[in-house]
Amino acid sequence: MSAPAADAAATREGRIWRTLESVLDPEIPVVNVVELGVVRHVRTAGDGRIHVGLTPTYSGCPATEVIEQAVRAALDHAGLDDVMLETVLWPAWSSEWLSESGRRKLEAFGVAIEPRAGTAPACPRCASRNVERIGEFGSTPCKAHYRCRTCREPFDTFKCI
């Protein structure tokens, strides 16, 4: 690729990243799909087309297709209609893929994040560590359900598996 062509590709990739940052998670609409860690790559292939790699959080997450459609729509609206969407399965998603800003927004929204597999999170309301797990599963495939013993409030947690 010539230098000007490479520059043009880089500019276009940057526009795509910014567009993707406007697409919110359909079930937890405080984080965008980049912060959620489901966008794996934006890269220009040999034929000059840009490929966007998306990964599901869980194999059966019903939001996967909604996210794909929302990404496609956002790219179309931005005039970026020559982009290939592809699915990436490995490395598999886990809560470790959440970005720092994503984590902060989730916690502000009231969703905790398990620090490590099987390790209890802090209560997103009162920061107490005195919490108990109510269920391994929550309102979406990526979450488990906890309760704070200090402030007595139940809360969702992004699980780490």
Partner: protein
């Protein structure tokens, strides 16, 4: 891998790879459809959510695997065509997966025995020479490990619970144990896929499964059932009566309104 080793390894045919991928796919699909029957009927809201979420994972795995099977077959069938337009005799799931839900304890026993098998099978398949299958398996293994944590946790609570829960879950274990032989005893295709480096070595899966299940049974204060002898042939398409009823429910809508979408 050196070319010398590659040359020695037998190559699986398209038919063999298709059949084998269907075994994995159909087991996840049928088990997921069974669990979905619990929606709205769980003994508590948390369990309703849990069973529904496990069902979702399993159906998600099935979609990925059925799509892969369709690409291997190369006749233009996608995951929907394979899920909705095959009859019971063309399904390749293990017989355990199609057994009715019964009470919550029976579902937990079925799920526990199946989770242990799926977990060990997928973990082993992470090293498959079929790179697409390996990627699906690595993700699925993580999910199944989490499912196992749930089902084995309940097995212990019910087995080591009240007299009534111990009696009922023990009876469910005795009843469903006869389907485990099919999980662990390889037939010609299982052995062939292992030879070709696509499927896991059956002896290793068996050993890890037995260890895992024996451990949780002990914790649950349940006796290890005697080894079963009756061979089931779900993975060759010979099913118990239950599968037809399950498929009738699952396939009714797309067959009545072909091409229908939300």
């Amino acid at each position: 891998m050196s070319t010398a080793i590659a040359a020695e390894r037998p190559q699986a045919t398209v038919e063999e790879r298709f059949e084998y991928t269907l075994r994995l796919a159909d087991t996840s699909l049928v088990a997921g459809q069974r669990l979905a029957e619990w929606l709205g009927h769980g003994p508590a809201l948390e369990e309703d959510l849990a069973l529904g979420n496990i069902a979702l994972d399993l159906i998600g795995q099935a979609r990925l695997l059925l799509a892969l099977a369709g690409r291997i077959e190369g006749r233009g069938r996608d995951e929907d065509a394979l899920a909705f337009w095959r009859d019971a005799g063309q399904f390749r799931n293990v017989s355990l997966a199609e057994q009715p839900n019964g009470d919550f304890g029976q579902t937990i026993v079925r799920q526990c025995l199946l989770d242990a098998w799926q977990l060990e099978t997928y973990a082993s398949l992470a090293g498959s020479l079929d790179a697409e299958l390996a990627d699906i398996a690595k993700k699925a293994a993580k999910e199944c490990r989490y499912h196992w944590r749930y089902s084995s946790g309940w097995l212990v609570r019910l087995g080591d619970g009240t007299e009534e829960s111990h009696r009922r879950i023990g009876a469910a274990m005795q009843d469903l144990w006869r389907f485990t032989d099919e999980l662990l005893t390889p037939d010609g295709l299982d052995a062939r896929m292992a030879e070709c480096g696509i499927g896991p070595p059956p002896a290793a899966v068996r050993e890890r499964w037995e260890q895992r299940v024996a451990g949780v049974l002990e914790e649950a204060k349940l006796p290890l059932p005697a080894r079963p002898h009756y061979p089931w042939h779900g993975k060759r398409g010979v099913h118990t009566e239950s599968l037809g009823h399950l498929l009738a429910t699952m396939q009714h809508l797309p067959r009545t309104y072909p091409g229908v979408s939300w």
